[in-house]
Subunit: 315 residues, 2 copies
Amino acid sequence: MAGVEHEVTRNKQVTLKHYVSGFPKESDMNVVTSSISLNVPQGSKDTPLNGFGVAKVVDSTHPNYEKGDLVWGFTGWEEYSLVTAPEVLIKIQHIDVPLSYYAGILGMPGMTAYGGFYEVCSPKKGEYVYVSAASGAVGQLVGQFAKLVGCYVVGSAGSKEKVNLLTSKFGFDGAFNYKEEPDLDAALKRYFPEGIDIYFENVGGKMLDAVLLNMRLRGRIAVCGMISQYNLDKPEGVHNLMQVVGKRIRLEGFGASDYYHLYSKYTDFVIPFIKEGKINYVEDVAEGIESAPAALVGLFSGKNIGKQLVVVDCK
Amino acid sequence: MAGVEHEVTRNKQVTLKHYVSGFPKESDMNVVTSSISLNVPQGSKDTPLNGFGVAKVVDSTHPNYEKGDLVWGFTGWEEYSLVTAPEVLIKIQHIDVPLSYYAGILGMPGMTAYGGFYEVCSPKKGEYVYVSAASGAVGQLVGQFAKLVGCYVVGSAGSKEKVNLLTSKFGFDGAFNYKEEPDLDAALKRYFPEGIDIYFENVGGKMLDAVLLNMRLRGRIAVCGMISQYNLDKPEGVHNLMQVVGKRIRLEGFGASDYYHLYSKYTDFVIPFIKEGKINYVEDVAEGIESAPAALVGLFSGKNIGKQLVVVDCK
């Protein structure tokens, strides 16, 4: 490799100042500017945060990837990333849909909704489905998938605007603002007088306790996340777990990566629905990597509406 | 039916004086003596407690049952019961084993252990299995079934005598007294340095929280019961449920009745082991229906060693 001319460019990155416990603040993060060689190999000075993104290959020594390829997968919060394990990236095959969809409906959140709902929950027509954080990156899809199966689906979210989206844009049969319900058990009994067959769990804590009281016999709870608990020093206690015995409830944790082997089956399934406008996907787009810290912080107060994206302006 | 001569006999029953919340006391129950006709039909004055028992048919108008048949199933806590729905009874086919086994290893507790361990947990050779309340009616069987599969199995119980039974009589690889462990998480880490694949849950509360911290990827928790929680006004909170997401844990409630269709398969499986002495079953026998209230109360303080039975002296 000696003698290879390296193109060096500016590389803005989002880094953590220190280990963060509790709720992250913008001031916990830095947006730093370093430089990076656009040829493999090179080294990076700071370690940025990481997450799922959509990217274009600018250089590759791996036989499966070449310059210009579009990929999605686990990347750094930076303008340019050196990827040393390219098997964490999936090549983008369909470019007749918005590329941002590969960070959402056609990426990790899409696989989360697909695997979690169809594989973990085994839904049947006519079943009663409840989705929390229902307007989020995953929840909005679970609701629409549930309608495709012929389920009755109700979602909850944290603002009037989000609640309206659930019924107007995503076809939920009902929706409520959990912040306006002092008694979550009573709210669920209103929307599910017959009880809940499937709960797609995104929030944890008090909501899970209320749901357990309203589950039906042989109900399923797919645990995708528990965002209400992530930033607490000590997670809230869940008191109603005894319900799982009498009601034969199955509660199961999962992640999108468990279902990546189904990815092409999923895209074959979902892309036609996207093109026909039968499945909608709402994104909340922040512009520029400098906006990433605020976008992350906003997730925990529910500021985003739909899938939170950050557009990094890379050439 | 007019003109049929009715044989009337004394019938001792255990009844509740009032609705009981919290831990039951002997003084919450009465042992009453009423009379009952031994011919069908008749009516009973008081409603006794009910539970699983072994009985002999003294009269029947149902074509599947005749006088002298031995049965097990859901019966009253009384010397004689009128059974109006005989489909809750199973006829005893094998009488070359102790009849009391049909209230234990060959009855509901046996089906609980069999269904809960083999069907819910899908154990594989070499997996790490933990059983709480391990010397009880169900736990002692789960441990022995786990050894048959080739699992490593550790149990916990609440006295030195019970802990000794686990390793000496039931073949557990390890055992500990949970009452002597101020830090359950540390105790589990000692016995399961590699973590737990399968937890057979009988107790709930703090134990479940400690187990969640020690579960392995794709671990399974079969929730049979949560005896530590039954008599609390408000169940303890379980704080570590977030573990189910990252570790893809499946937590599932079940009951013996889910598996009664496997009953003859189970007896074919287990009776040879019983006869060869390869599976042991320890019973704690109280004599006479008058001892039933104390026997029930003793369950909640762990006074019993093995399956608690009450022998009702009926002719």
